[in-house]
């Protein structure tokens, strides 16, 4: 359950902000399509971690919402842009990309010119917005 570590990172960040005096009401977590985080598992982990924070440290986060962001790519060589839906990562490499999204450059390339030198313009991995 690698999702736990990502949720733990989110919880630590919120904790640090609160300790520094910031009023954190709600947290928005954006899950990028490329990393393919299991939303159910992630949500459960984050709920548990926030509950633990409330119980053990008196830090109360009222809520969090999870949104998703589609992945998009742009080739640095030929300028072509595409999405994951148009050009999927092969099944056998998805697990590796799930752990370290940047390794997508090893297992995937521009559908037009074949270059591995492309940019992930959206939907890489987890992002946090504090409201």
């Amino acid at each position: 359950m690698h999702e736990w570590a990502l949720a733990e990172a989110v919880a630590r960040t919120v904790e640090e902000l609160v300790v520094k005096g910031r009023d954190v009401r709600e947290v928005e977590v954006v899950l990028g399509e490329l990393q393919a985080v299991d939303e159910g598992v992630f949500e459960l982990a984050l709920k548990e971690l926030f509950e633990e924070m409330r119980r053990e440290k008196g830090i109360d986060v009222q809520g969090f919402k999870i949104t998703r962001e589609k992945a998009a790519f742009k080739c640095q060589v030929c300028g072509h842009t595409w999405t994951l839906e148009e050009w999927p990562v092969k099944e056998e490499f998805r697990e590796a990309v799930h752990f370290v999204p940047e390794v997508v450059h090893s297992h995937y390339s521009c559908p037009r010119c074949g270059s591995r030198d492309f940019e992930i313009t959206a939907g890489r991995g987890v992002k946090v917005r504090v409201i």
Partner: protein
């Protein structure tokens, strides 16, 4: 302000080590991976729980030195990912477990992103972390030093003029930043006195050029046999800091 959500957890994980040692070399090809691997084996076999991270994302090779097949290994998941246990006291993590020995071309910010991701999710249990970093003042080395100012850099240098000039620049950089070093390992050297003359400091260890070293790569016992004695001084220096 840095709002990367991974940073607080990374700092916590790095602070859990008694010592973080980025192994750095101002130039490529001076034997950084060899020394990082041999030193890790030396410490681990001394009974010190040691972690080794290959942070050369675009060209990871430490697993080759350790005799591991990156193609067939995927680190286990458990509330994150667990480093691979190479020996009783040696745990190891490498991006090669995910890039599977294929090319991994990364632009600067992507290297930093990949490093943060790996540092955030890897659950080490060792007392010391040795980090094999890419040559030069790379994004990876700078990011690691930013994330953990208490790191103690081990500098690997050869004894030729170009390498010594590069090493001097690295020493000056660390001093100016207020960062600390463990010392210099002079590798593949016949005249370690050059270090003293040129850098005003003596090498902590001086390793000779070993003929046919390539044949030993992948054989941990042989790697340690070849370099262990030469690295004893570094081992004791590190133990004194734990």
């Amino acid at each position: 302000m840095d709002l990367d959500f991974r940073v607080p957890l990374i700092r916590e994980r790095l602070e859990s080590f008694r010592l973080v040692v980025p192994v750095a070399s101002p130039k490529g090809g001076v034997g950084k991976t060899t020394v990082a691997s041999a030193l890790s084996l030396l410490l681990a076999r001394e009974g010190i729980p040691t972690g080794l991270l290959d942070a050369d994302f675009t060209n990871p090779t430490t697993h080759v030195m350790l005799g591991l097949d990156a193609e067939s290994i995927t680190p286990e998941e458990e509330k994150g990912v667990l480093p691979v246990r190479v020996e009783d006291k040696l745990e190891f993590m490498s991006p090669a477990f995910y890039s599977k020995d294929k090319p991994l071309p990364l632009r600067g910010h992507e290297t930093v992103d990949a490093l943060r991701e790996l540092l955030a999710v890897t659950r080490w249990s060792s007392r010391i972390l040795i980090v094999d970093s890419p040559p030069g003042l790379s994004d990876t080395l700078l990011e690691l030093l930013r994330l953990h100012r208490d790191s103690r850099v081990l500098i690997i240098s050869t004894c030729d003029e170009m390498s010594l000039l590069s090493t001097k620049r690295m020493i000056d950089f660390l001093a100016q930043e207020g960062l600390r070093s463990i010392g210099i390992v002079a590798n593949m050297c016949n005249e370690c006195s050059k270090i003293q003359g040129r850098l005003n400091t003596s090498a902590l260890a001086c390793l000779p050029l070993i003929e046919g070293f390539q044949r030993l790569e992948g054989n941990r016992d042989k790697v340690l046999e070849a370099l262990g004695t030469g690295l004893e001084a570094v081992k004791y220096r590190i133990i004194s800091l734990l």
